[in-house]
């Protein structure tokens, strides 16, 4: 239909319909159907604690730090701690590394955690749902005993309390925190940060009893008092060198413990640290700070060290000498100190079970190394065999990150005792898994546990989500993990990954001040906005703006009017982060 417009008598005869085109339901033409379809971000799948990282960075990128913090708390009670000590597998999974470098997720977590401490954010209550939900939960609450107040024990207490149960934590040491308190040096994790995050858990009503070493009768103790027991007492026993003179070497873990207790304040002379893991590096860097001249003795090559490369690099900057391909044979004492006889090693063609090249003795090549102090840090194990779940009994259920033993009352093993990777994040995951397993057992019975935990997996990974467990929005996401190829990179221009300020090697050598500084607000904002927000809608509105049919509208949330959507798929194509999908129309 055409119309003659005679406004102000301007000749304006054009083609335009007189009636609305709404009668033409172009939706009938559609044979593929676009839809909002949030997916799993690779970072959150890789995070042992299963944090909703894409969403956390989306909120942080908008300066909504409290909301970002609350989102972390849904899956992890230790943002400021993990922001410092986590080995951040999320960053190795980050899709952005294929463009211009992974998002600095770990440092951002620290920034958000520190912001919560500085601004004294209160714990959200209730975490989910409404008050009725929490009342309903506490009505069926049970009493749980937890052995160990490390990251696993405290996380279990945190999540179980949120699920309406009452928790009692028993700790052998005089203060809670486990490895976070006694193992990790202050320059990596300041005491006040840990204390603040633990105090939040105490404020929820968790009771901790310190100075209560674990005895074998613990699991029987208080029968009737407790409805379940969770054992998370960590790897407290260092592995032995099994060489003559090993008694002259000090145990690295115990050394770190005594430094954190304030017992060691100065160490002069030369120190030899045997080992290549994170504890060895912690011992070495602590010794440097106490005044020693430190060398690390490692039987493989530097690149084979299990310690985080970042930590090894920092230690080297501080003056650590790494002596690779050397294996100790015996230690002898004389009046000037100790002499360690070492065997020169060489790399063989054979690969070990862990995929690393094996090192074998380079026959005939030996040397003596002199040192004033010798430390070992070659790994640790459970202090007592009964800390570990028994093998071969029928009432054992192996779950992700923890083991459930059915019995008169449930007994769960977690933390280092059951996790494959011995890290704080895995310990937190273990506490969470134990909490879910117990809660499911109490509510739905033992048989329901395995399937319930399966439903809470993030994507096809091992991590579990408490938000999904509690039927939060996150549960609606597809398990498909977004790959870099599915990101529409036209919408992202190169922006370098931000680095935090780091104390110079000179400034940190004689000092236990924290080595890395937190991001400032501006840097945090810029870094968080680098996140692709893989798989989740961040309201960029591209879908609506690009829709040629104007068939997308906002009614609280974005909706597609299928009466007019022709299924052209432009919205899906223009979604920068794969939060939409096309599916064939069912006829």
């Amino acid at each position: 239909m055409k119309e003659q417009q005679k406004t102000k008598e301007i000749p304006l005869y054009i083609s335009r319909s007189e009636i609305s085109t709404e009668g033409n339901r172009t939706g009938f033409w559609r044979f593929v159907r676009p839809g909002y379809d949030e997916k799993t971000a690779p970072c959150s799948r890789a995070c042992p604690a299963g944090e909703d990282i894409a969403r956390i960075e989306m909120l942080a990128g908008r300066g909504m730090y409290m909301a970002a913090w609350e989102t972390i708390l849904r899956e992890n009670p230790f943002p400021a701690v993990c922001g410092r000590v986590c080995f951040h597998p999320c960053e190795r999974a980050c899709n952005r590394q294929e463009l211009d470098g992974a998002v600095s997720v770990n440092r951002l977590e620290r920034f958000i955690g520190d912001m919560a401490i500085a601004e004294a954010y209160a714990l959200p209550h209730p975490f989910y749902g409404d008050d009725r939900e929490s009342d309903r939960r506490s009505a069926v609450g049970k009493r749980i005993a937890i052995a160990g107040s490390g990251p696993a024990g405290l996380s279990a207490a945190y999540f179980l309390t949120r699920l309406g149960h009452q928790c009692f934590v028993f700790e052998a040491e005089k203060e809670p925190g486990g490895v976070l308190r006694w193992g990790i040096p202050r320059y990596r994790l300041p005491e006040d940060i840990l204390k603040t995050e633990i105090s939040r858990i105490l404020d929820m009503g968790v009771e901790i009893f310190c100075g209560q070493p674990l005895t074998q009768d613990f699991t029987d103790r208080g029968k009737g008092d407790f409805d379940a027991v969770f054992l998370a007492c960590g790897y407290g026993q260092s592995l032995s060198l099994h060489i003559p003179g090993e008694e002259y070497a000090q145990d690295g873990l115990q050394f770190l413990h005594s430094v954190r207790s304030g017992k060691e304040t100065e160490i002069q002379g030369t120190a030899l640290v045997i080992g290549g893991g994170n504890t060895a590096i912690d011992v070495a860097r602590t010794l440097i700070r106490l005044g020693a001249e430190v060398k690390i003795l490692y039987r493989r090559r530097r690149q084979d060290m299990p310690a985080f490369a970042h930590e090894v690099g920092m230690a080297a900057e501080e003056g650590l000498e790494i002596m690779e391909l050397l294996s100790p044979l015996r230690i002898q004492a004389d009046k000037e100190g100790y002499v360690t006889e070492v065997q020169k090693m060489k790399v063989s063609d054979m690969q070990g079970r862990d995929g690393r090249c094996r090192s074998v003795p380079d026959e005939g090549k030996r040397q003596n190394l002199r040192a004033s102090h010798i430390f070992t840090a070659i790994g640790a194990e459970a202090e007592q065999p009964w800390f570990l779940p028994p093998k071969g009994t029928g009432d054992i259920l192996e779950l992700p990150f923890c083991t459930f033993r059915k019995g008169e009352r449930p007994l769960l093993y977690g933390g280092d005792l059951t996790t494959t990777v011995k890290s704080a994040a895995d310990a937190i995951a273990s506490g969470k898994a134990a909490a879910m397993a117990l809660d499911t057992c109490f509510r739905e019975g033992y048989e329901a546990i395995a399937e319930k935990l399966e439903q809470c997996r993030i994507g096809d990974g091992n991590s579990l989500s408490m938000e999904i467990y509690l039927s939060g929005e996150r549960g609606k996401r597809s398990g498909q993990t977004v790959s870099f190829g599915e990101i529409n990179t036209d919408y992202f221009s190169g922006m370098q990954r931000r680095q935090p300020r780091i104390l110079s090697p000179e400034d940190r050598a004689g000092d236990f001040s924290e080595t890395e500084k937190s991001f400032d607000r501006e840097t945090a904002l810029a870094e968080a906005s680098r996140c692709f927000n893989c798989g989740i809608c961040n309201d960029c509105d591209n879908c609506r703006l690009f829709c040629p049919e104007v068939a997308i509208f906002i009614d609280g949330t974005r909706c597609i009017n299928y009466d007019y959507c022709k299924g052209c798929g432009i919205c899906v194509e223009e979604c920068p982060r794969n939060a939409m999908s096309l599916e064939e129309e069912k006829i």
Binding site: K2, I10, L12, Y13, I14, S15, S20, T21
Partner: protein, 385 residues
């Protein structure tokens, strides 16, 4: 406020003052400075507008067509090959009766590759239904851009503001930049007569079969016929506020002139000087500055040229196989007139070659010496073949 401005920036300032809402352009020498400044104004908040970056001039025109269809004030700029690439959509803009304003920097088309002054690019678009206004200096560029919005929005026709490459686009001159208040008084916010409304969707620019198509074309012509009168009215208002006006054409000492030189663009300034020199020597020379090329000011031509003995048209363009385009148009304009002085066509200054006072004086002499034009076009200053 008087500022020393580059010709390109005289356009940018006018667009800023016109409070344009959507701009889209693709960079091309010698136009780039115009949109470069505008993109900065968008970025730093001096303009509350959207600048849509696109991958080609075709898309730039498509983007402003979309925006103008949505009922907002729009701007784009281009030149040479870029304008040629827009060609298809230039027809769309006028056919859909969208009041888009474009700055067109006159530049030669390749090959041979040439970025300099030449009128062939804009004149090749003479049949697209756009109003074309040519400018002589920086002040005229700024003023014409403001006039263009009033004109375009009054008649629902797109307007091309044309300026010479480098001679104007890259030359700094003192320009009076008006204050926002005066511009607002002259150019109120755009109230569209036709615009898309997502709440009441209508089909627009759809199929127009034989029974209606001709009427639509005729309407464009009817609107074009209203341009001279409308432009005069708008200029009067502009004069009242800013004290300047230009006219569709400007006659300089034409009343008693035996020979009248006709040309457009910056060479007009050179010609003003030549005319006064010739007059000082007793020659009865006149100058007609062509500002409006579309619609072609036939009436003015007939009135102003009828009494002259000869007309010399200086074209910095050429229609191959025919002649200079201004000369063609003037011959056509005079053909049905009682008084038809002979029209001498001269081609010069293509591809950025200078049109010097000596060349213009030569053209005057050649015209004076010959009783009748020997050829349709004389190429002045050829050095080879």
């Amino acid at each position: 406020m008087r500022e020393v401005l580059e010709g390109s920036h005289a356009v940018s300032e006018a667009v800023r003052l016109a409070k344009v809402q959507v701009m889209s352009a693709y960079p091309i020498t010698p136009q780039t400075h115009i949109v470069e400044a505008l993109s900065e104004y968008c970025a730093d908040g001096r303009m509350d507008a959207r600048f849509i970056c696109v991958e080609s001039e075709h898309s730039a025109m498509a983007a402003v067509i979309g925006a103008a269809s949505g009922g907002v004030r729009t701007f784009t700029a281009s030149s040479s090959q870029g304008l040629a690439l827009m060609h298809e959509l230039l027809h769309w803009a006028s056919g859909a009766r969208l009041p888009i304003v474009m700055a067109e920097v006159n530049r030669a088309l390749g090959p041979g590759w040439n970025i300099w002054m030449d009128q062939s690019d804009s004149l090749a678009q003479r049949d697209t239904g756009w109003i074309q206004l040519y400018c002589e200096d920086g002040q005229e560029v700024l003023d014409t851009t403001l006039l263009a919005y009033r004109l375009a929005e009054s008649l629902n026709l797109p307007v091309m503001v044309v300026l010479d490459a480098f001679f104007l686009s890259h030359t700094y001159e003192p320009v009076d930049v008006p204050d926002q208040e005066s511009v607002d008084a002259f150019l109120p916010p755009f109230v569209p007569r036709i615009c898309l409304d997502t709440k009441n969707p209508q089909a627009i620019s759809q199929m127009a079969p034989p029974p209606v198509y001709m009427e639509m074309r005729h309407n464009i012509q009817l609107a074009m016929e209203r341009v001279p009168e409308t432009f005069e009215g708008i200029e009067k208002e502009f004069q009242g506020i800013f004290g300047r006006s230009y006219g569709a054409v400007e006659a300089v000492q034409c009343e008693d002139a035996d020979i009248i030189l006709i040309l457009a663009g910056t060479a007009v300034s050179t010609c003003r000087h030549v005319i006064s020199e010739l007059r000082a020597k007793g020659e009865k020379a006149g100058l007609l500055k062509l500002k409006m090329f579309r619609p072609f000011p036939k009436k003015e031509m007939r009135e102003l040229l009828g009494n002259a003995k000869k007309i010399a048209v200086i074209d910095r363009n050429f229609s191959f196989g025919a002649s200079g385009i201004f000369a063609q148009e003037i011959r056509a304009a005079l053909y049905n007139s009682d008084k038809r002085p002979p029209v001498f066509g001269y081609i010069t200054g293509l591809g950025g070659r200078d049109v010097t006072p000596e060349i213009l004086e030569d053209i005057y002499r050649m015209t004076k010496e010959k009783a009748e034009p020997e050829r349709e076009s004389v190429w002045v200053g050829l050095q080879h073949n």
